[in-house]
């Protein structure tokens, strides 16, 4: 028996354009990774992607993803979601995501959909999301140069030294550049 092969895309929604709310000296990390509106439901997201696919690939594209596209996880607070696509057509969806420029709701904000991980199992996608969230926390704290009052000890044990932080940051960059190749 042949298994149905899927790909899981871990996608971040980024807001590179600064609007009024973020004018007054908030760090860029927070602004870029800000939360997405609650109006974005799973239905809207899939609808938006489907629309974009139809626009780009026509009937072929929408047919290819119609029965397989599914949002496995959507977290508006952190602007992260995990998509499931069939293995053959995941690039179609990826391309559609690349061409989407706003949150697919009414009067949606301008945004960028960034595919950060393509994996064969949802488990790996989740692990990657965890890793990224941890990195994000470090990044945000470093950028602000201050300690958050929230209790991070249970996640990190002890606060990381400067060298570790630097290493982490370097790792982030290396990963980013390889992202496009690491599908598979």
């Amino acid at each position: 028996m042949v298994r149905i092969k899927n790909r899981y895309l871990l996608v971040n929604i980024l807001y590179p354009e600064l609007d009024d709310a973020t004018q007054k000296g908030t760090p860029d990390v927070l602004a870029i990774n800000q939360s997405t509106t609650d109006a974005l439901k799973i239905k809207d997201l899939t609808g938006g992607i489907r629309g974009q696919v139809r626009q780009l690939f026509g009937d072929y594209g929408s047919g290819a993803i119609s029965d397989n596209l599914q949002v496995k996880y959507l977290s508006p607070a952190t602007s992260t979601f995990i998509l499931r696509v069939s293995r053959v057509h995941y690039q179609v969806v990826w391309a559609a995501l690349t061409f989407m420029t706003s949150v697919p709701v009414k009067n949606g904000k301008k945004c960028v959909f960034r595919v950060v991980r393509v994996s064969g199992t949802i488990r790996k996608a989740e692990e990657e999301a965890i890793r990224r969230a941890k990195e994000m926390i470090i990044k945000a704290r470093r950028e602000l140069g201050e300690r958050s009052e929230s209790n991070l000890a249970d996640i990190f044990g002890k606060p990381p030294t400067e060298a570790e932080i630097l290493k982490d940051a370097l790792m982030v960059d290396a990963d980013d550049s390889e992202e496009g190749l690491s599908d598979g």
Binding site: A21, K72, A77, E126, E127, I130, A133, I137, A140, L152
Partner: protein, 901 residues
Amino acid sequence: MPPKKATQDSLALVQGQKRKAPPQYSFNGQNHSNRGRDPKRVKLFDARTILAQNSEAALKNGELDLSAFLRAREFEIKALEDGLQKSKTLLTKRAFQQVPRDLRRRTASHNVKRVPKRLQKRAAKEMKDDNTPTVNRKNRRPGTTRGRLRAETAKRLGLLAVKKKAKPKDWKGVEGCVETRAPRPKIRRNQFNSPPKPISKFRKRQIHKTWLPTHMWHAKRARMTEPKNPLWRFAIPITSTEKSYRPTHRAAGARGAVAWDMSYMSTIALEGPVESLKKLLNAVGVNDASLWGHKGDKWRDGKRSWSGWISRDIQTGRVQIGPAVVVWCTSESESTTLPLKRPLRKIFVRIHPSIFLETWEEILRLAKLQRPTVQVEDLRFEIGSISITGPGSTETLLGILHPYHESGDLLEEHGRTFRSLAGVSNPGSLPANAVLAFSIMDPRLRYPSRNITLPRQDDEEATFALLEMLASWPLDDSPPSRALFDRDARFKATKFPTQKSINRRKGQALPGAYPTTLSTDPPIPLMLLTSRTASPASAQGMWTLLAPWKCILPIWYGLVHYPLTSGGNPRFGGLDELRQTHFENGTAFFPVDYPGTAAGFTWEVEQRTQRKAKWERRPKGKRVEWESFDLGASRKGELGRGWSCDFERLIGAKALPDVDGASTQGTTQNTDPTPPKPTASIELKTPVQHVICKEFTSLFSTKTASLPPASSISVVKLTLVKRGIASPCARIYRLPATVTSSTHDSIDTAATASTSTSKPPSTTRLAWLSLLPTPTYQKPLPNIKSLSKQKFQHLPLNVPLPQRKRLLAQSLLQDPPLQYPATNKQGDDHPLVPDEEDLIGFVTTGEYNLAEGKGVAIGSVSVCKVLEGERRAGKGEGASRLCIVRDAGEKIGRLARWEAI
């Protein structure tokens, strides 16, 4: 599947179903109970949903905020980790799936009573939820009238038994009654001992066999002998249910320990004056000159054991019975009140159960001849034993055996020395055949065993002290304990306190402390024998622990749960593992590798039947046709029967009819007091006689000695010169004779030249010798030029990479690759095997030897044929101790070197 309407008829439908309606799950506050969704899927969906926060969580009053941002991420991390965990536990297992690997079973795994106790409750609930509860035999409603009658009778009988038990036993209060000791079991002299009476529940299963003391433990973890077909009248573990070949090799050689319950070994006790015992032992072949002289003093004092072959006299000469271990009880000290004129001494003779009957009869006959007479006792179910080998074996024993008197003057010298053995990694490093005898406390008081403190590896002083102690061996001056030889002491040792009271005492002890021994705790007499393997000095020796039969079980529990410092617990082994360790040490295993003895030949006959049955089970097209199979040079058919080590054919005797296995009962030990079968039948059955290694080598070294009878065989170890392995039943040939008139024009054309004649070509001897690898002293020159000329074999590490690549390419191109698919004429370029006149023997054990990293086999060869072959061999040919091994049903023979063992 779920009911459509909650009406009465649907309820009835539910009751009629075997599996009840599954529990309903609600999801997101909605009630799905009537929606008809598969509950399993709901559960799945539930577990796979990952919690997510709304966007408000990352904002503070609608504005970006660092702490809120961080908290949102933290929540995400938690949620995702939670989700991972949930989806993992979703694949929950049933109780019987959680049983440890080695305890897992396939049959009746649904039966609650067959899972370990700790899982039984859970399993019962699961089965009840499935509406398939395990039926309790007592509560089952009998289906038939007869069944009901039987149940009623059983119930009434049970009530009667309870009444009978409830009768007051308490005579203590009654006047005029004397308290007596518990009756000792009788051991009748010169008669067979009967096995311990099993509890009624298990009695029926032990009619034709006896269980080892650790039977229950082993039966769950090992493949045992078939119930209807016990081995030597014992239910013996054959092999572990887990994969165990390589782990056993590691545990026995590199790190860890392997233990066997060897309680099936038989012990015979002899009691009499020294002179009578000496005469008796001499008559059974314990007649080494060194044993009875000054050198044997330690042995006769019970400080060393003797292991060797025992034999018996028949009209035509001596017949080897089998290996035995003889231990003396130390002589009573001079201070005893009644110095007898001829003090009685005791000895133990420990033998394999397959030769028990033969030995027993012989010893009994001899004992009656002695004046003053020697008393013989059968201690088969009286003394049990455990064998343990491996680098961790000494550590394990130290961890579980605690001398009865822990310190002070009462501590026996042997116990003290034993405690100081920490750090010994090979029992063979003790003095050869050393004996330690002392008493230990109840092992359950020290259970679960803890790690002992070993001296550090780099602590030179401690190592030196240990080595010095081993060399001087202080125990040579102190007599070993005699308790194990004393029936009273053995019996008292088995009267240990109940598990309940032990548990209570453990509970009362301080946390982390062991309970102290009380005066009511009986000491357990113990004897530890060491043995080393002969061949490589570095090979692991073996500890043998002798203790009263009933004390084996608590010792065993402690042993298998001991936490080794090298990690893990000691492994346990079955018969296969025992055979394997013998094989890896290069020693033969009794009785398998000794077809020259009665016991060994019985084994061989049994194996024949099994192999033949296996062969007959195969479809005709897929099995070797022994009659028509081609040996090259137009020779057809296998030599002898292909499924057997056909010694009858080798010596030209009449072949035994293919036995149906019924006659195999003859030499198994007889636990019934009924008169055993006469030994004459054994003699008839054994066509070959075993010649022990010493005699064989002496015959071999003296060129002019007269040839022994044709039926004498000896055990050899074969090491294959090149690749390949030899399996059991493989045929062993000597090198064919050289024909002087032949022209040695070419050795490679052996196969082509021979097709016309029926005789194998005369040049085969040279062809075989050409297979010998060149002696190793011609080392290749280290410079690269010469290397490139040679075949690509061993490049030094400093060869630069381009050079290396080029050489590799060259070597690959030089040898044309092997053809694929392989041609049918495989082996046609191989020298042909010799004729039947050069057949000298058969392989009894053979496989890939992990210890040596190549094919090794143990076989038996006809002594006179080997001697003939060696005498006709030319000098300086390098052909000494060479032979050819060919698997049964194969054409290719392989060159091997043999050595007597």
